[in-house]
Symmetry: C2
């Protein structure tokens, strides 16, 4: 059946009709008064969503581009950085840092395990000469469905006193609280096709006052990703280079929807969906990759043993037109991932769980039929 | 009257309904088979449009991002580059080169004048030690409406033997011929909101075999803009980072339309629109910024003397809802620019000229009423 695809991947996430309709509008001039008015509204709403008084700068780039911009605007050649890596994206930030000749020290954990805050404390306390200029880590590790303990790690960074904290919040922002100003998160990057409920194409980056001071000292080469001109132009409700105006239309629409739902409700919904997904998966007899106490609100990784992950994804796609994500790198074929990020309702989750139960039945791999739906319903009904 | 805006600026350009409708479709997974099929078609059509057998790499970035990628993937720190600058964009590439600590030598011309190919010949012939590693120039200078003589300058670059040629074809690609392979253009950058007839958000870059050899030697730091992974992924009809899938939908639709129209017809249409715009402006008694023999096929810059450029733009916008571009930097307030790039028909041009005549009449600034339409009609009817 055509046109019935349901996206349950951790990005691109489903897009509401209001945002899609806005996307399909005819572009307007990006230097016009009309566009500046729209940009002013979007910038205000982004600050609200990011829980910060600082500018949330908008780049035409993927989340990786935004994160690279964050890293190269506050550091200088040879600077030592501590990078937390327990998945594909943590690995990626180490690669970015190395590409710019930073001195990279990594703290790792197995994919599916959270980063150990104690390891950060020890490394930071050992750095008595204050050589570590930044700690870079991923809040919600999309590749494994693990939420790292940003709050605790950040406390250790603050105790160090010198290092900035640079956070990949690509799949946490808009899914759980990331109180940028309250926690004093220096650099926070994210991307549009996630909690923002619009298609890919925009990267977001916020910088604290301390990060802007580091910017003044930073000597890494950049032009398109030089955040200074973005900040200067943001003050005039514009952008230094031609922005993707249609994605801004969509963003205006989705931010209005998020405002109407409210931050607390958005976070509660994601938490509920996460718990419902996990309890349902357990009830179906499928092993989860990570444990409940470090579960991402955006994506749940499942590591089936009695049947292949790719077999499950294949039936889900062919029979029910539901796209689930596969595993990445060494987890390819070993896990599948259920996205429940952004424009996802209780009904959507039940739909995915019901289809997953039917899939397991057809593969003779499930527990008691109905166990998943029963478990998910219990969570969703409890709110 | 709402929803009646007519874009006659050199980007964003008007977008056909087929592309807008495609833009408003629900995104699909960027790692799905369906998306790879779409990407395969788009990549094939881009090669056709760019007249090259090499990959046309697609970045989520503005044209500036694409050009920066082109520059930093083929050069190394301290390399000498010769940059042609006769407008805002030529100036910008010099700034990009300086940001990466390249040794920049500029050849300049007044805004509105073309770059002198002889100046390139002399500089390249004087470089007997072959220290110049690249010549960077803008083909169609959007800020002034001047088309630089790329063919001749490229011949001098080829005679030098060592230097690569890096071309900003942002507003020439899809408007006039840019025979990348025939001329041996090494690096060519462009952007989606121009001749491609879709909204902003995608940057395009092609690289010759010589450019890829230079890539192997190049030592400038980059990650998101490292073109190697784009090339590797292009071979598998995918992209290294999450692409803006909705812009790809639109691009598929617009490239199909361009295929149906045919390259020669597209170029002839732009040439006709350019000549009609210029003859009409002359007939209305308004001075053109540049001369006919170096006129851009994308945009016509007008430098009115008896009435203010901003006054004209203001009436055109308020009374007729036509967006014209203003001047940039020191030409702000001194010129206005009529875009006739991309999805622009003969009828659109007559519409703009008719409205401009009415505007001049209302400002008591025109020649004989009807002179502009008469002159434009003559060109358009002759084909």
């Amino acid at each position: 059946m055509d046109d019935k695809l349901m996206l349950m991947i951790p990005g691109p996430t489903p897009v509401p009709e209001k945002a899609l309709t806005a996307m399909g509008r005819h572009p307007i001039g990006h230097r016009s008064g009309e566009f500046s008015e729209l940009v002013a509204e979007v910038f205000t709403d982004l600050k609200w969503l990011h829980q910060t008084q600082n500018d949330v700068l908008v780049l035409t780039a993927s989340g990786t581009g935004a994160m690279e911009a964050g890293i190269i605007n506050v550091l200088s050649s040879g600077d030592r950085v501590l990078v937390g890596s327990n998945g594909k994206f943590g690995d990626r930030w180490a690669k970015v840092a190395k590409a710019y000749h930073l001195d990279v020290q990594t703290i790792t954990a197995e994919w599916g395990q959270p980063l150990d805050p104690e390891a950060f404390r020890e490394a930071l306390e050992a750095d008595t000469n204050k050589e570590i200029k930044a700690v870079i880590l991923t809040h919600s590790e999309t590749s494994s469905g693990v939420l790292n303990d940003l709050e605790t790690i950040n406390r250790h960074v603050k105790a160090h006193g010198e290092a900035l904290i640079i956070v990949d919040a690509v799949t946490s922002l808009g899914a759980c609280t990331v109180p940028i100003d309250d926690w004093g998160l220096d650099v926070v990057g994210s991307g549009s096709q996630k909690g923002y409920m619009i298609p890919p194409g925009l990267g977001f980056i916020s910088m604290s006052d301390r990060a802007w001071k580091a910017y003044e000292r930073s000597n890494l080469p950049r032009f398109y990703f030089d955040l200074g001109p973005y900040r200067k132009n943001a003050a005039k409700n514009t952008t230094p280079f031609t922005p993707p105006v249609n994605l801004f239309f969509a963003l205006q629409a989705s931010l209005r929807m998020m405002r109407a739902e409210g931050l607390e409700n958005i976070f509660a919904r994601h938490d509920r969906l996460k718990r419902a997904a996990r309890e349902a998966v357990k009830a179906m007899g499928l092993p989860l990759l990570g444990s409940d106490d470090c579960a991402s609100p955006a994506v749940t990784a499942v590591a089936p043993t009695s049947v292949g992950a790719e077999q499950i994804r294949s039936v889900m796609k062919k029979q029910f037109d539901i796209a689930l994500a596969g595993g990445q790198d060494h987890l390819k074929g070993k896990i599948f991932r259920i996205g429940h990020l952004g424009f996802v309702s209780d009904r959507d989750l039940l739909c995915a769980i019901g289809s997953l139960e039917a899939t397991l039945q057809s593969l003779n791999a499930g527990n008691e039929p109905g166990a998943g739906i029963t478990a998910a319903s219990k969570i969703l009904n409890a709110g």
